[in-house]
Symmetry: C2
Subunit: 305 residues, 2 copies
């Protein structure tokens, strides 16, 4: 079988619309022959080729499948996404969650190829981390402890990462130090925040209050680091439509179209991954130079060189 | 009388030692003929010349004179410092404090020259703002409301600025937004933080806790912005020795020499002012490139371009 070395560039559409590659989703149980350390939701292009890999960490009390539209958008631009299910309503400690994420990372080099169709090859030399909410903290924790993983991450993205329920009640392990650019990381970081994430929903306090949310994760990231604030959207507005409806009972949601939000966030992620996994910087630079080209209002957009 | 246009460059010593210019201090009462809007402590070189002017805002429950050694260090490099006394143990609201600082700024162009010796000329086209602790917030508030002052500030420095007693109890006016680089300022910003400022002193909580201290003021500043953390010192360690002894009953203090701390902080301030009021960037760039040349341990040092 002839493998295409790089299928990313086949996806020539705008990053803010789904890419040209057809994708499929695969659910993998722990009892699968490849014995993944947790259940997995995998989203992958179907065309023959070698694709970079993204490890995706879901948020608090959500399922990996609740992000399927966003993950398909990203994958359709030429990425294989592996999303472990850490827990759902049965909560586990952050430490245990990070342990599982570490195990899944270490499993990728032997296990991932065996669960993919034969014509697909994961290119683990181009591996990135993506996380949402509490999963954003998990992603940062994993990146901060690269000595524990056999594979090295080349890029790190957080969608509304949150360090804990509130500043005095931060959850171990503490990753925030409140010193600018203090994260001991040597990989590029992209942070996407939402403007409504620090708002309460009636009597229910914010899930991502000031001081422990997206802004602080960006502040503590060394250059190169990017910050994109989706001003008019809320913490859960990247989920699939049916799940946003559920989440918005607890969590302030934006008034705009959630499809546009997923396209906007998906586009930023694709642009960032193309820049740092494929050396194609044009799309990312375009967003920094002209944020108004995105389908959602972004502001501020910051590139810390 | 012939005025030298620029006496800053006469001070050729290291920024971390007192400059070559002899200085004097002047206390001005409100009942003075020049009728300043508050009592003032003025520190000025004595040699004939025109000097840039620094408006200094003192911290919570301190007197303007408690900073006399630090202010003399700065002045000896060629700056006239005007330090209003807002209040001391009789506290006033932040809003009233900012009103007085605004009035003093507007008074400078008519009043300052009349209280200085005849051979000295304040160069108000080169005016900077400096504040410590709560006075750092006052300085930022003043800069954020430049439409209220007849004079324009060219540079802004905060020494351990603090936004309020604690995150939920922030004091009006709120200046922090928890959005990176959100301050609507178009002047260069320098922040000097202390590594012990977020520590409690026994049962007395920190005066500058995480989330409302130096780091957040830096995070919200647009480039060009500088951050210097004096790792091993505390919030009040820039005061004159006798006042540090008093303050350290309430406030965690570093173990090192306070004279070295004042020299280190004074040197950073002088380097920053030389860069942005006199176009002499060498000293500031040297500190960014080699922080270990400072007499105190600095880390991190960040220049956000």
């Amino acid at each position: 079988m002839e493998l295409l070395h790089d299928n990313i560039s086949k996806a020539k559409s705008s990053v803010f619309t789904p890419g040209n590659l057809k994708v499929k989703t695969i659910k993998v149980k722990k009892s699968n022959d490849a014995s993944p350390p947790s259940e997995l939701f995998v989203v992958t292009p179907v065309s023959m080729g070698a694709y970079p890999v993204i490890l995706f960490c879901h948020g608090y009390c959500t399922a990996n499948t609740w992000y399927s539209h966003l993950l398909q958008h990203i994958s359709s631009h030429g990425f294989i996404i592996v999303a472990p299910q850490f827990y759902q309503c049965l909560i586990m400690s952050m430490k245990d969650e990070i342990k599982i994420a570490t195990k899944v990372t270490n499993w990728l080099s032997t296990g991932l190829e065996t669960i993919l169709p034969e014509n697909l090859k994961p290119d683990l030399s181009r591996l990135a981390l993506l996380g949402h909410s509490r999963g954003g903290k998990t992603a940062f924790s994993l990146a901060l402890n690269q000595h524990l993983t056999s594979l090295k991450f080349k890029a790190l993205l957080g969608m509304d990462p949150v360090a804990g329920p509130s500043p005095p009640g931060r959850v171990e392990p503490e990753v925030l130090t409140y010193i600018p650019q203090s994260f001991n990381l040597s990989l590029p970081v992209g942070i996407i925040g939402t403007g409504l994430s620090n708002k309460s929903k009636g009597i229910i306090p914010s899930f991502a209050p000031n001081g422990i949310n997206h802004a602080e994760f960006f502040n503590e990231s060394k250059p190169p680091a990017y910050y994109f604030l989706a001003k008019d959207y809320g913490h859960c507005d990247i989920l699939d439509d049916s799940k946003v409806a559920l989440a918005s009972l607890l969590c302030k949601s934006g008034k705009g179209s959630k499809e546009l939000m997923r396209n906007g966030v998906g586009g930023i992620i694709v642009a960032f991954l193309k820049a740092y996994l494929a050396g194609e910087n044009d799309n990312l630079q375009s967003i920094v130079d002209a944020p108004s080209a995105a389908p959602i209002t972004l502001g501020p957009v910051i590139y810390s060189k």
